[in-house]
Amino acid sequence: MAKITLDKLRHSYLPAPSRPQDYALKEINLDWRDGGAYALLGPSGCGKTTLLNIISGLLTPSEGRVLFDGVDVTGLAPDHRNIAQVFQFPVIYDTMTVRQNLAFPLRNRGLDPRHIKARVDEISEMLELTDLLDRRAAGLGPDTKQKISMGRGLVREDVNVIMFDEPLTVIDPQLKWTLRSKLKELHQKIGVTMIYVTHDQTEALTFADQVVVMQEGEIVQIGTPVELFERPGHTFVGHFIGSPGMNIIPCELRDGTACIGDFPVALAGPVKAVSQDARTEIGIRPEFVKIAGTGLPAVVRKVADLGRYTVIEAMLGEVRVSIIGPEGDAPERGSEIHLQFDPKNTRLYADGWLATEEGETR
């Protein structure tokens, strides 16, 4: 087990990158605590798999270093890094039994057969594979196969980190939940560092202590699930996490006060220095928008009753705003309403980045 440090990491798939767009990863600096559960979250093509392959050693970065416990491993091959990786599609050795599959990484390292057997028994117990040990791995379902590939990582005692590259893609929805809780349970039991790559916010938020949100090769925010939800550092995070995502409403800055049209909006904290020509927006989650007697005038466009709550979509001028309200007493479609924003959760974003300061209130 190890602490992982990424130092000024950049990567490009092109031979001679020059412009920032040429880089699949743009300067990543990161410190991951030993034994933590981390998630890399972002849309497809944001560079998360590239980053993962650099950590596992399948890819050598164009620039920068990867350190395990302070030791530079950038030039080491995957099998010398003591890492394990579970891929999107289950990788199993078809001709082997489940037991042989689990023993494979240990046999390759020339360990004592008695030790291998003990270790395989222990891990199969943990993963509930004991009954299947002597079955051929080829005929099993995708969830069991994915458990086996996970087991091949867990069976080694010296792993620094186990990485998961969207491991639940091919699993049935009802099994996803079981497998995810199993994973969480295993992490608590064995305490090995785990990195989980996904584009699914639910998976990331339920699995990880810390989520790294990526967009276009950049890290936009690192934080606990609560931080990402309550204080998005970038409009992308606000929009990507939460359902529906954060409302982003264009606004103007007049003497340090944000105004939507002619209405001043109270913010969670003082505005940072923002350049003159920056694009300024208000970010507020639908949960913190209230319908009241006075406030910003808007017209109801759509009402969706989702059972426990109602999602109301209203037009604030040209901008669409989502409001999450309690069940029942929703306004009629087409009716005029007034909106109030909860000041503690209303923030200003300049060119996408958070531009209000606030005390360390957490």
């Binding site: 392959n53 596992s56 399948l58 091959a77 995957p78 099998d79 890492i83 394990a84 990786q85 891929f87 999107q88 599609f89 990788v91 050795y93 078809d94 001709t95 082997m96 494979f104 990484p105 390759n108 390292r109 005929g139 590939s149 091949r152 990582g153």
Partner: protein, 286 residues
């Protein structure tokens, strides 16, 4: 009551006619000949299974069958491993992929009788490139029209040259269909190159190799044109494979009855071996 529309049969009719005329009718004609004796003039005499007994007991048939089996086993033992090795050595990406594929496909595009003629000229002891090289440069006496061993080596070399490409292309298709994740996982698991071959590449190639072996078995077991053009079955009868012997019997001696019986036996052997092999190779699949 469900209504049945029998007009659907009309769609199948063209295929039925085609198959009837290119397979069923000729096959039944052969069956017809195999149980009768004819002296021409459309005069036929019932013979029962006599021809079959005669063929199965004849030393000539046993010898040809033995040569045929030896030939097929030899070329399979060379072409399958060689094809796999070449496929493994071929590049997976880049411009060289198409270059290699075209080079590999070239021998397959040459008409069979041309292959025979090419090798005939290639091996002429005095002016052929191979003959000249062996006799005059290396000093190894080589004359494939006189020496049975040289004739065998040449026929086998020709088949390997002509058909290994097919195995290469099939094995290559199997190899490139393996997702990268398998190689990456094997790397992480610390697998040696041999383990990667044994546990990933070979199992993933199993299906295409089954097809490759089946095709090479059937084609080599039925081979006629190339050895006929190259050696004509000689020297003596040393390279007279089953099909060459069959043609000698049918068209050389005009023994239509025994020839028909022999071709049916020949056909059944090919069918039986193919069926047994295919059943064995696919018995573990769902």
């Amino acid at each position: 009551m469900k209504t049945v529309n029998n007009r659907a049969w009309l769609f199948v009719l063209p295929v039925v006619i085609l198959v009837a005329f290119n397979a069923l009718v000729p096959l039944m004609t052969v069956v017809n000949y195999s149980v009768q004796e004819t002296f021409g003039n459309n005069l036929f005499f019932w013979q029962g299974l006599d021809w079959f007994q005669q063929v199965l007991r004849s030393d000539r048939f046993h010898a040809a069958l033995g040569r045929q089996a030896l030939f097929t086993v030899t070329i399979l033992l060379i072409e399958i491993p060689l094809g796999v090795v070449i496929a493994l050595a071929m590049p997976r990406k880049g411009v060289w992929v198409s270059v290699c594929l075209v080079l590999m496909a070239l021998p397959l595009l040459i008409p069979w009788n041309v292959v025979g003629s090419m090798w005939n000229i290639f091996t002429l002891p005095d002016i052929g490139l191979l003959g000249y090289l062996m006799n005059d440069v290396l000093g190894i006496p080589y004359n494939m029209t006189r020496d049975p061993v040289a004739a065998w080596a040449t026929v086998i070399a020709m088949d390997v040259w002509h058909w290994t490409s097919l195995v290469v292309l099939l094995a290559y298709a199997g190899l490139i269909s393996i997702p990268d994740a398998y190689y990456q996982a094997a790397k992480i698991d610390g697998a040696t190159p041999w383990a990667v071959f044994r546990y990933i590449q070979l199992p993933k190639m199993k299906r295409v190799l089954t097809i490759a072996i089946l095709l090479r078995f059937m084609d080599s077991f039925n081979i006629y044109t190339e050895p006929f053009v190259l050696t004509g079955g000689g020297p003596g009868n040393s390279t007279t494979l089953l099909s060459i012997d069959l043609v000698k019997l049918a068209l050389g001696q005009f023994d239509l009855g025994p020839a028909a019986a022999m071709s049916l036996i020949y056909f059944l052997i090919t069918l039986l071996v193919s069926w047994v092999f295919y059943t064995l190779m696919t018995r573990n699949e769902n």
